[in-house]
Symmetry: C2
Amino acid sequence: MIIALDGMGGDFAPQEPVKGAVEAVKEYGVSIILTGPKEVLEEELKKYEYDPEKIEILDAREVITLNESPVLGIRRKKDSSLRRAMDLVKEGKADAVVSAGSTGAILAGGLLVIGRIKGVDRAALAALMPGKNGPFMVIDLGANAEVKPSNLVEFAKMGTAYFESLKGIKNPKVGLINIGGEEEKGNELTKAAYQLLKAEEGIHFVGNVEPREITDGDVEILVCDGFTGNVVLKMYEGVVKNLMSMIKGAMMSTTRGKIGGALVKPSLKEFMRKNDYKEEGGASLLGVDGIVIKAHGTSDARAFKNAIRQAKNFYDRDYLEKFKGNLK
Amino acid sequence: MIIALDGMGGDFAPQEPVKGAVEAVKEYGVSIILTGPKEVLEEELKKYEYDPEKIEILDAREVITLNESPVLGIRRKKDSSLRRAMDLVKEGKADAVVSAGSTGAILAGGLLVIGRIKGVDRAALAALMPGKNGPFMVIDLGANAEVKPSNLVEFAKMGTAYFESLKGIKNPKVGLINIGGEEEKGNELTKAAYQLLKAEEGIHFVGNVEPREITDGDVEILVCDGFTGNVVLKMYEGVVKNLMSMIKGAMMSTTRGKIGGALVKPSLKEFMRKNDYKEEGGASLLGVDGIVIKAHGTSDARAFKNAIRQAKNFYDRDYLEKFKGNLK
């Protein structure tokens, strides 16, 4: 399997994507094409020992910045590291793209360069997150600020194919993120989507899921518009971050708490490690006719390595074919 | 000050509202009219010593259940405990309503019985929540699943009046909950609302606030549609609940962690107490021409007492006049 890795995407490029590539090659046996300025990437690669047959550089002289329109960036900067990586998949020279570039640019690249799967109206961003009783997936995390009710059915099918092919879970549960448990609750979108989801065969729709229950992890797939999904994702991140810091502060305010804090530290560290998004890899752009993984902007080498593993899983478990089958 | 307290609202009625009323009378010197079946409330009141001049019962034989339409419930069940309480405010016989009944019924009661303030298009639910650096308020928490951009400006004014009158904070910061920091980010609602908020005088608009930063508590007032606000509120509750339980589980998995856990327990308990929604009272229905406090459905006596204190604050600090002034 060949992975096109955007060597210039993310806050810590090119160091971390390059290091992640070297580690992934060793660990997973994949081949990687790194895109970016040749001399910069070569300089980084020199730091490591690796099988030169497994890592190749594709020169790309431009970078799409956060300040420009993602669509124009992808269209005009044909020699950017992200566009080059997308082209590799489009041309069949690579099997997946991994990038920690901006969500907007990756979305634009997926849609404009690789293109949607025939029959799919909207592509969507999805990611697994740690829940109390197991991981769960929210679709869409922000690719579509506005959607039609029927798009949520598409998202449910994408998620179902994901759990069936990648996790080996048959008939994963699908929930609709809503602000009430009853069928008639919610806004116009969720009310209409509820009826469509209920009528849809081939998915295991369990009804509305209130945000209080999302992180229980009892429902595998949670569908919503991209605005709501982004709120869910970022609330989760923000509350965990602040709560951990507030708990630390509370413990440190007494001597007894300080001693106890020192004792529980290893457990908490292990807990945070297990529940770290970096372990899961990145978000997947589902609905496009190729494997596109968006790693977190702050990804380190480990996160890149895990995003590459994730791309490999999509490939090995034949996600695309599974989803195309579910569409019919 | 006279408070109309729905004696039959909430999961633990009539015991907890009655107990909360007795405590509030002692602590805050308010007078309370309890609404509900006379003999039931009298039986409860018998358990306590209290000043009989300060607590009165208004007989009400009906209860609006969770299974009926809130609007029909309020309209038809004229002898329900909630409707009676709302009537008392409408007729000027009480200065505020406190109820732990269903959000829908309280909203319907506020709108249909008490009515909106002249010039206000939408009433909204708001509540203070604990943030890392201070409390923050989200408006709307779920009264309006769909809103117009101009409604968010109204919400900003309600919140500003709240912080100015109740908290004595001049020019509190107003943020728009959005899925990106930049002006042009978001869905159609937030893009249009951003421009209106920016142009509005008399509020201190600081731009978009991403959900990751909401619980920092650096921005006092966060405006959004009721669907989004409800997602924010319930994600916050759910993540805190699950995270605390997951952290506990992680600590209990090793002997060292168990010992440390025992030591940090008092600090964590104190932390949870300080950050308990029950301390703040309830959610306020803003924009109606009266003081309406919705206590949490699971309220105990302490939560009712705090909701009554909150109603008293609205009254003492002249919130309604302040907000009407800001409207002009």
